[in-house]
């Protein structure tokens, strides 16, 4: 039986202020971030600007700076911050008993959309 949440691994596998990736076969890769204050966020791994892999950016506060052209993306909302406009879909994510759980529906939605 598969629940509403997908277990993708231990929270400790994500470095603080870092990101890891979860490819979705038939869908879009997901970037999972851990911030300096140990919160976890997940976004589709695609910058709204030119599809830069956000997982490879520098994480600061609750934002990530895209590695390609330095747009700043809010981890909570997926919105580009500052003067830039654009939005990356967010994936509901939570940590339970040290495991990182992604919303199954949201992951499926990326696969449907792709």
């Amino acid at each position: 039986m598969i629940g509403d949440w997908l277990d993708i691994g231990a929270f400790d596998e994500i470095p603080p202020r870092g990101g890891r990736t979860v490819p979705v076969i038939g869908g879009e890769e997901i970037a999972v971030f851990r911030t300096g204050d140990d919160q976890v966020f997940a976004l589709v791994n695609r910058c709204p600007h030119k599809r830069g892999p956000l997982s490879q950016g520098i994480v600061h506060g609750h934002a990530v700076t895209c590695p390609l052209h330095n747009w700043n993306i809010s981890l909570a909302t997926g919105e580009a911050l500052g003067a830039d406009k654009g939005c990356t879909p967010t994936i509901p994510v939570r940590v339970d008993a040290g495991r990182v759980l992604l919303s199954r529906m949201a992951v499926l939605a990326t696969a449907m959309a792709a």
Binding site: V22, I58, H60, A83
Partner: protein, 852 residues
Amino acid sequence: MAAFFVFGVFDMNMAVRLGTDGAGEALDAREHLVVIGNGMAGCRAVEELLARDPARYRVTIFGAEALVNYNRIMLSPVLAGEKTFDQIIINDHAWYEGNGIRLVTGDSVVAIDRDAKTVRSDSGVEMAYDKLLIATGSDPFIIPVPGKDLPGVISFRDMKDVEHMLAAAGAGGPDGEPGRAVVIGGGLLGLEAAHGLSLRGMKVTVLHIMPTLMERQLDEAAGWLLKSALEARGQTILTGADTAEIVGDGKVEGVRLKDGRLIPASLVVMAVGIRPSTALARGAGLDVGRGIKVDDHMVTSDPDVLAVGECVEHDGQVYGLVAPLWEMCRALADGLTEQHTGYRGSVTSTKLKVSGIDVFSAGDFSGGKGAEDIVLRDASRGVYKRVVIKEDRVVGAVLYGDTADGNWYFDLLKKGEDIAPIRDLLIFGQAYASGGGQADPKAAVAALSDDAEICGCNGVSKGKVVQSIVDGAASLDAVRSTCKASASCGSCTGLVEQLLSLTMGEDYGGERTTKTLCKCTSFGHDDVRREIVAQGMRAIPEVMHKLHWSTPDGCSACRPALNYYLLCALPGDYVDDQQSRFVNERMHANIQKDGTYSVVPRMWGGLTNPRELRAIADVVDKFNAPMVKVTGGQRLDIFGIRKEDLPAVWADLNAAGMVSGHAYGKSLRTVKTCVGSEWCRFGTQDSTGLGVKMEQMTWGSWMPHKFKIAVSGCPRNCAESTIKDFGVICVDSGYELHVGGNGGMKVRVTDLLCKVATEAEAMHYCAAFVQLYREEARYLERTAPWIERVGLDHIKSRILDDPEGRDALTERFRHSQLFSQDDPWAARAKGAEADHHTHMGEFRPLALEAAE
């Protein structure tokens, strides 16, 4: 005889009225000033008094808090982790001692006997006064709902409250979840508390009874912008939320709203308002309205009792901000030293101290009859400005997002200036309105009047700053220590710098007229580097903490810079912070537009051999690399490698003896060479050999920016040495050394540093130059702009004129190279930092769906 008389009379006085110990005091014939309240107003009043007549009074201060005088407004940054308590102390113990002030802390005054002219403290100390100053501040207002006395319900007023909040945040919630806090009150204090708590990791809900936040300072539009900005930072903001009760069994567990909603919380902060603290004065029979009534000289209904600060009512007004208090203290000190100026009330302005959110408001923006609005909205920049005008005078201003002109509007407002002539341009700010389009910001500062406030935290006017500069404070630090401007939150640092340069003209070298490192700090690159070394800092969080970073963990501009500065300062000791590296340096390869990487193996001096070429060819085949090309730096570049395959590619290249080419790094890139005397008919020296040696000496070194070297065998300069960071041109008699060239965006031809006779010298000077650049250039500054900034003479003085210094530079470079010449590829190929190259998991949702 006369002296004896004075002492004699005074001794009798003491016996009757003092009843304290202090034999020294018995000999002190000065009038005794007793101050109740060791807060911002009480101490400031004493400071003002000392500035006018340091010998006039003997001073005793009672403080209910067990601490020295600190800057209460900076409790918010302390809560947010941007400052430590030590950094917000205004006057330390040395100040009290140095000025002969007796400080009684942790003991409140509980009664005043005006007939006997004594006060009595909680612990029973009784003390006589000649003049009494009441500066008891305010009491937080606690809304009378059930549960208000439960443990875990606090206000936000003093350091004790901050400690309580930090403990609650540290304790977290059940099951390792973040703790939850409810802040009641969406005004200035409440929002600063909420901001601090959420930076400290709590899930925060703000309950505000009104429909928009900070409604007393902001209009609806700005309140809404503020709400969305705070929500984007993860806070929950409930407006129109009326608290019914605080629930909990023995301690706080949540807040119930009148509409029935229950918000769980282990901490409730009430920040709904303050009331002047008047109980003591009332008990002593002084005239008290909303606050303790005072005249223009801060004298209460008893001529020997004065009062200042938030506890007073002047002309029907009470205040809850610091600016009026500075003015009150001036009037009070003038009065006590018989130079009556008098206090005439204050107009106030407000700033919200939430980093990254700029909000300013001043005066009356409620509109009303005859008021007109000028509004500017710039949604894409997130800017909102509204200036309210009545009869051609500014009466109010609300600024959101861009508050640079706040002081200017406030100044126009206070002076009641006729704005009709600049009305059309008013909203665009001072630079436009005073003509000249995007005028010089200095002109804007020059145009401010002398009493315009520069430093809001410490109440310092432009006139005062200029006076301390004229009196010899020639640097930012000097200004900070003499008049305290820019010494607290630092937001006026730019203004102070402009005043320094306006006042001193050419003489002000502009230690910091350069920009700050980034928006997270008010320090520039050079200050940060100097402080890292001076204070022996060892880690990025330590630097951010000690230098008051305004963000929790910096940004993509400052983190890589700090990482480099620490690495350079502590070779072999500092542990690199991978998450503070740009992607290329973290992945040891160059990211491409499609998210794959390119790989450039090192080829010393541009030389290669069949074994290397075969290995490269094999990698291209094995990993299906779509392209391989010869680069502009004489190396081979393999394109289109996936991050998962990088370690395997490196393992294969390592096997053929090749290491990282650092084509991705702020580091030594390539040493370009020509064929030189070994083959070329014009060659004068072995340029290829020297290039290889230089590359072997310098490879792996991290630098402020990328660094390129070239060695040409004769002045025909086939290796393009004169557009490299360090270039060598071989001549019959030796080696010409050229520095500071750039062939990139802004082409710059090198400057000739010197000529040396031997290859060994060329190597030595090269190492010294590289190290000087590593130690002194700002992060992301290449040698060309660096040399333009510091001047070639500076480089020459360090490398040519100072042989010992040159040797020391070379020695430091060689030492640091001991730790950087490990091939980063080899470690990764063996499995280090595997998480950079692997996925966390993988999904086949459709397949799984189908299987279900």
